[in-house]
């Protein structure tokens, strides 16, 4: 894909995403009904769930593109994996700050070792490791490969981590917790608001993704240009 095309896509997705977020906030503040038991705090949910969704999506893209990069060695796959990981880091941070804010009221405690909380926290740390390795690698190419390995290994082991936490402390699964957390089926207006949030956050993620991808593209072109340019004396 050409650079101009990427920029164009990033702009379109960004404009749509920002518009979506504005609509989302209008819906959240003025339109959607207040949840009966949790009250007004429940509205954090419309920011929290979309950011969680995007974090998981980003993690998936990083792992898939990382695996494909190790196999095909196409630089573009590495750009994609890196761009997704950066998005995941940001949206993961949103998720991890909005969650406890909500939980402090809804559960009476900002943090519990509920399986999904633990899973997402650990996943976020895998992303942190991903960037630390990239940044500190002595050899850039090796850094890309090692980061890809972390992405792939993370994707393989994180499900196991999830299962482990699910079964902790007793070996009995606790599906009830998950169901209760999910709540009863959402009301129509809540569902619409949530869907708007999911759409808006996904658009913003892909816009940031395209921008970041374009930046890597530009860096690559510049590196090529520098190499081809005859050395000035």
């Amino acid at each position: 894909m050409s650079l101009a095309r990427i920029r164009w896509m990033a702009t379109v997705l960004g404009v749509l995403g920002v518009a979506g977020v504005l609509v989302l906030h209008w819906l959240v503040f003025f339109w959607v009904g207040t949840e009966r038991t949790m009250g007004i705090v429940q509205r954090i949910f419309y920011v929290h769930v979309p950011s969680a969704w995007v974090t998981f999506l980003a993690f998936g893209i990083t792992a898939l593109c990382g695996a494909a990069y190790l196999w095909l060695r196409d630089e573009r796959l590495d750009w994609a994996a890196q761009s997704a990981a950066e998005g995941g880091l940001i949206f993961g941070a949103i998720m991890l700050t909005s969650g406890p804010l909500w939980a402090a009221y809804a559960w009476g405690t900002p943090w519990t070792w509920e399986p999904r909380l633990t899973l997402t926290l650990l996943m976020w740390f895998v992303f942190v490791g991903y960037f630390l390795v990239r940044a500190s690698a002595e050899d850039r190419q090796a850094g890309k490969r090692m980061a890809a390995v972390i992405g792939v290994l993370g994707a393989l082991l994180i499900p196991l981590v999830h299962v482990s936490v699910l079964w902790f402390p007793s070996l009995h699964p606790q599906p009830v917790v998950l169901n209760v957390e999910e709540g009863p089926t959402l009301d129509g207006d809540m569902l619409i608001t949530l869907m708007t949030g999911l759409l808006a956050f996904t658009l913003i993620f892909f816009s940031v993704f395209c921008l970041r991808y374009g930046l890597e593209h530009l860096r690559y072109q510049r590196a090529l240009a520098l190499r081809e340019q005859p050395r000035a004396t």
Binding site: M123, V149, L153, V161, W167
Partner: protein
């Protein structure tokens, strides 16, 4: 196959011989293990908490930190004198090098576990239950999983300028299953609970170990290739 095994055995032998002659990693790991136990003695008010109840957790934390300290140097040692170049250009397949490193690290960490169990028994009089065979089985399986993950990541951290500082950040998120099931299983063995209560954890530890070892064997080549 036999050639492959012989190559792996040769590297294991080299690593262990190096360890016997210099003893540098083992000395550091052993000292840390005992010192952590000493610090735990002062860190926990034994008038308020019964140490035996925390036994499994304390021992696992000690093993994790002690093991990480030694394993973090697996590849740094090789890189210092450029020995890694010789190893990588030798006819041994890359996965063979990984497996050999896993085996030699496994031996080291197992020794550390013996030191840890002895130190905790000596300092706190811990009761380790009445099924030493099952305890050895659980420790063995969990250690293999721990070593499989840490060996791969020590190859990664050795190639960064952050070195061993990076290792815990990379491995701790992924080692959560080892901690959960290792502690659950050993805790129950210490309390002399029936085997049925340990089985589940043991199977999950085994599953983790298989996944970690397989993934490590496949992914190692991408970490070290030049």
């Amino acid at each position: 196959m036999t050639v492959y095994l012989r190559q792996v055995a040769a590297i294991v032998r080299k690593d262990l011989l190096l360890e016997v002659r210099t003893g540098e990693r083992l000395a550091a790991m052993g000292a840390l293990t005992v010192l952590v136990a000493v610090l735990f003695h002062f860190a926990i008010d034994q008038g308020l908490v019964r140490m035996q109840l925390l036994a499994a957790g304390l021992i696992w934390m000690t093993i994790l930190f002690g093991g990480m300290l030694g394993m973090g140097r697996t590849f740094e040692m090789e890189r210092e004198q450029g020995a890694i170049q010789g190893l990588l250009t030798s006819p041994v397949p890359l996965d063979g090098i990984y497996l050999a490193k896993v085996v030699s690290n496994f031996v080291l960490v197992t020794l550390i576990e013996v030191v840890a169990l002895a130190a905790y028994w000596l300092f706190f009089g811990f009761n380790y239950g009445n099924d030493p065979l099952l305890l050895a089985g659980v420790l063995g399986v969990a250690t293999l999983g721990f070593v499989a993950v840490t060996t791969l990541f020590s190859a990664i951290s050795a190639q960064t300028n952050m070195g061993q500082t990076l290792l815990p950040i990379l491995i701790f998120p992924l080692l959560v299953p080892v901690v959960i099931f290792g502690v659950t299983a050993t805790g129950r063995i210490f309390a002399s609970r029936p085997v049925q209560e340990v089985e589940g954890s043991l199977y999950l530890l085994a599953a983790f170990t298989v996944v970690a070892l397989t993934a490590g064997t496949i992914l190692f080549r991408y970490v070290v290739e030049e």
